[in-house]
């Protein structure tokens, strides 16, 4: 850190803080605290670092007692783990947030028009904006959904768009997660714990609330039915799913039933749940089960997580599913590369949030470039998430690179590559010291009567030094995200 910076006296824990040429969300390149963090750092320095560290430990304990966990499976035995939490929040100034919010609304609108089009007239293919073969070779494209029109023409009701900030200070879209994105329960849990951890700071700062998310989610889901008081349920694959806590939490917060596939039954063209008082009709299902597991009659016949015949009921419009089956085609990482073109095509606008430059191994020119420069790139499987099926060229061994090259040559459609982005950093408490750690941001977007963007979202932080991978399955943690008014 440079010598000329001015810091609050007791906040001298930042003395040895090194920014290493990354964009730091708290500190400007000249060492000044950014205005949005001023109040927080003043308060924290008033508390003293020992007290701050003490509160970090108290927050860790609170997570355990609240049972905010995710499941990791090893040796056939399930372990409930705590998602590590860091109490120094990521703060987003209001102007920056407004731009993100506009950008996300624009993107979701375009993606939704794309889904309507692709399962309908397919104009975008006929006009040659996106090559047809890319669509039809996507595992997320469901032929069974052609000609379908979900209620209010909405396909992607709930999405979590991953953003990163590069060293140029610009927010880029890294991924569109339109298939049951998880993590929103951590946002709510993090905020709850932060209020307990820093009540004196919360009182004085105007942080936009996130706690109304379950209510907005319920309103959006109810909007999908034409019935007066529709019955909404959350469909979970069951307790062995890594996000089971979230499914149960959202059901509880919305005050609706949490059901498994075996609780539901199709009869006379409707979906019912088995209750102790007999069968009860279900109108809207927030399903946290993947498309292909939904209905063994129409998709994966081996699925025991789904409900036989449910797709027929859905097709007749007798039950609403969120998100709509088939939505996954739009978060194929190859199709992601075409979203800026979709925005132009459907909305005649320039994208407010740019994509990360993406090379499609499907294209022979791009592929040659990727194979030659693999050491500088991040290679991702087009249809995997959670940090699986990924190669970070700068950190990979020769053997790993060779293996990926072979896979790219064999299945070019299945891989994309991006330059290694310098994710921005936020100061983070590591072993009783403050160190810079890389973060990303996943804001959650609900598309119902209108489009709602949760202010903030999930900030994930790569806790290992130098790591750029923020996924919980790969040693990531999270922070509370504050959008200031």
């Amino acid at each position: 850190m440079k010598a000329n910076m001015t810091l609050p006296a007791a906040w001298n824990v930042l003395d040895k803080y090194s920014m290493d040429d990354f964009y730091d969300e708290m500190i400007e390149p000249n060492g000044q605290i950014r205005p949005c963090y001023e109040h927080l750092t003043n308060r924290m320095s008033g508390l003293g670092f020992q007290e701050v560290v003490g509160r970090q430990h108290a927050a860790d304990r609170a997570f355990i007692s609240m049972g905010i966990t995710f499941n990791v499976y090893r040796d056939g035995e399930g372990l409930e783990k705590i998602f590590p939490f860091d109490i120094i929040p990521r703060i987003i100034p209001v102007q920056e947030w407004e731009q993100i919010e506009r950008g996300l609304k624009q993107r979701i609108t375009a993606l939704n028009l794309f889904l309507q089009d692709i399962y309908g007239p397919q104009k975008i293919l006929k006009d040659g904006v996106i090559p047809s073969e890319i669509i039809f070779s996507s595992s997320g494209y469901l032929k069974q959904c052609e000609g379908l029109m979900p209620a209010h023409h909405i396909w992607a009701h709930i999405s979590g768009i991953d953003l990163i900030k590069h060293s140029d200070g610009i927010n880029y879209v890294l991924e569109d997660n339109l298939r049951v994105p998880s993590g929103v329960s951590y946002v709510l849990g993090n905020r709850e714990i932060m209020k307990r951890t820093f009540p004196e700071i919360f009182e004085r700062m105007d942080v936009r609330p996130v706690t109304d998310y379950p209510l907005r989610l319920l309103e959006m889901l109810e909007h999908l039915s034409t019935r007066e008081k529709p019955t909404v349920v959350v469909l979970t694959p069951g307790i062995y799913n890594s996000a089971y806590f979230e499914h149960s939490f959202l059901a509880q917060q919305m005050g609706v039933e949490l059901v498994e596939g075996r609780d539901l039954i199709v009869q006379d063209g409707f979906v019912y749940m088995r209750t102790t008082q007999g069968l009860k009709r279900v109108d809207v299902i927030y399903r946290r089960v993947d498309d292909t597991y939904l209905d063994p009659h129409h998709f994966n016949p081996a699925s025991v997580l789904g409900v036989p015949g449910i797709f027929d009921v859905y097709r007749r419009g007798n039950v609403a599913l969120a998100n709509a089956p088939g939505t996954g085609v739009a978060d194929d990482k190859v199709i992601y590369a075409f979203v800026p073109k979709m925005i132009k095509y459907y909305l005649d606008e320039d994208p407010i949030l740019p994509n990360v430059p993406t090379y499609l191994c499907w294209d022979s020119k791009d592929r040659e470039y990727v194979l030659e420069n693999i050491g500088k790139m991040v290679v991702k499987a087009a249809n995997q998430s959670g940090g699986y099926g990924m190669l970070i060229g700068t950190q990979a061994t020769k053997k790993e690179k060779a293996a990926f090259k072979a896979k790219i040559r064999k299945f070019p459609r299945e891989y994309i590559a991006q330059p290694t982005m310098a994710l921005s950093r936020v100061p983070t408490i590591i072993d009783n010291h403050i160190k810079g750690r890389h973060v990303d941001l996943r804001p959650y977007v609900l598309y119902g009567k209108d489009i709602y963007v949760m202010p903030g979202g999930l900030t994930r932080v790569a806790l290992r030094q130098g790591s750029l991978v923020v996924n919980s399955s790969q040693g990531g943690g999270s922070k509370d995200t504050w959008v200031l008014r």
């Binding site: 049972g67 059901a251 075996r262 609780d263 039954i265 019912y272 088995r274 008082q277 007999g278 069968l279």
Partner: protein
């Protein structure tokens, strides 16, 4: 309430109660060993396994009815779905699926019980002291769980399914504890009614936590009264009849019905069995034969269980 949720709450309670009663089974032998003068009669471990009805599985896994084998089988054996360890693990799995319905304190108690026995299973030894402590912990853990449930869970449908499950399980297990006497051998028929015979009876009473309550009601130990107490007593919380009354009351709370009438198969079968106990005296039992009576009762109680499952848990009709 979802059928699956009701079923999970019911079984969560049954498994905890079952674990407790398995601890009680084994205590019968411990009590006997301590009460009998050394050398009077050989220790008998076979009755424990016969009582549980899992004799075939035991033979397949172990063979010989030694003390070590029997205790291992009933308490720690993973391949015995009814062992104490298996029951606690099943109770926890059921609790996990209904965490958003039950109180957090209930979940914590089941989780802690489950976690606390795991190290004990690893370092298990057959020292009397270790085992006595282990079985006491299981009993206490179960009592704590039902206490927590009663103190923190609203008396809603979920609570009543849990309560019904607990008392149906307990009725079955008290029946089986009593039935152990059938399998305990006396040196010869002349021993019937002797102090040795009565010692075996009182070991059963103690395992059912009924010794003091029996004394207050009947005083002297007499076989007919012990049988009357453990089967027909209205007020003793482990007596079969008391359990059936409790289970039926919860069933009525669930259906909104009243005792003495029925709308569902569950109410019909439960009511029939409960009223049968109301109009039975100990003479009737001995006329049929104690073992035969207990055996028939188990079958009837199982049928009530099937009726409850059919009425509430499996394919419900519109």
């Amino acid at each position: 309430m979802l059928s699956r949720v009701a079923e999970s709450i019911c079984w969560m309670n049954r498994y905890i109660e079952r674990a407790e009663n398995y601890a009680r089974f084994i205590e019968v032998d411990f009590n006997l060993a301590m009460d009998l003068p050394p050398g009077t009669i050989e220790e008998q471990w076979r009755p424990l396994v016969l009582t549980t009805g899992d004799e075939a599985l035991f033979q397949q896994l172990y063979g010989a009815f030694t003390k070590d084998n029997v205790i291992r089988f009933l308490a720690f054996e993973k391949d015995n779905p009814n062992s104490i360890c298996s029951c606690l693990s099943a109770a926890r799995e059921n609790a996990r699926t209904v965490r958003e319905i039950i109180s957090s304190e209930m979940w914590l108690q089941i989780n802690e019980m489950y976690l606390s026995i795991r190290p004990m299973v690893e370092k298990q030894n057959n020292s009397e002291k270790f085992l006595m402590e282990f079985f006491r912990d299981i009993k206490e853990g179960s009592h704590l769980f039902s206490g927590i449930m009663n103190a923190t869970f609203s008396r809603n449908e979920g609570w009543h399914f849990g309560n019904m499950g607990r008392f149906m399980e307990r009725a079955d297990k008290t029946d089986r504890i009593l039935d152990m006497k059938y399998y305990y051998l006396l040196p010869n028929v002349d021993y019937v009614g002797t102090p040795l015979d009565l010692l075996q009876w009182s070991a059963l009473l103690k395992s059912a936590s009924g010794f003091e309550m029996y004394r207050q009601t009947f005083g002297k130990l007499e076989v007919a009264n012990i049988v009357r107490f453990l089967i027909l007593d209205r007020n003793f919380p482990r007596a079969v009849r008391h359990c059936l009354i409790e289970a039926e009351q919860s069933l009525c709370a669930i259906t909104g019905g009243q005792t003495g009438a029925f709308k569902t198969r569950a109410e019909k079968d439960m009511g029939k069995l409960r009223s049968e106990l109301d109009y039975t005296d100990v003479k009737d039992i001995f006329e049929i034969g104690l073992h035969e009576y207990l055996d028939q009762f188990q079958t009837k109680l199982n049928n009530v269980g099937f009726s409850v499952a059919e009425t509430f848990f499996t394919d419900a009709v519109v």
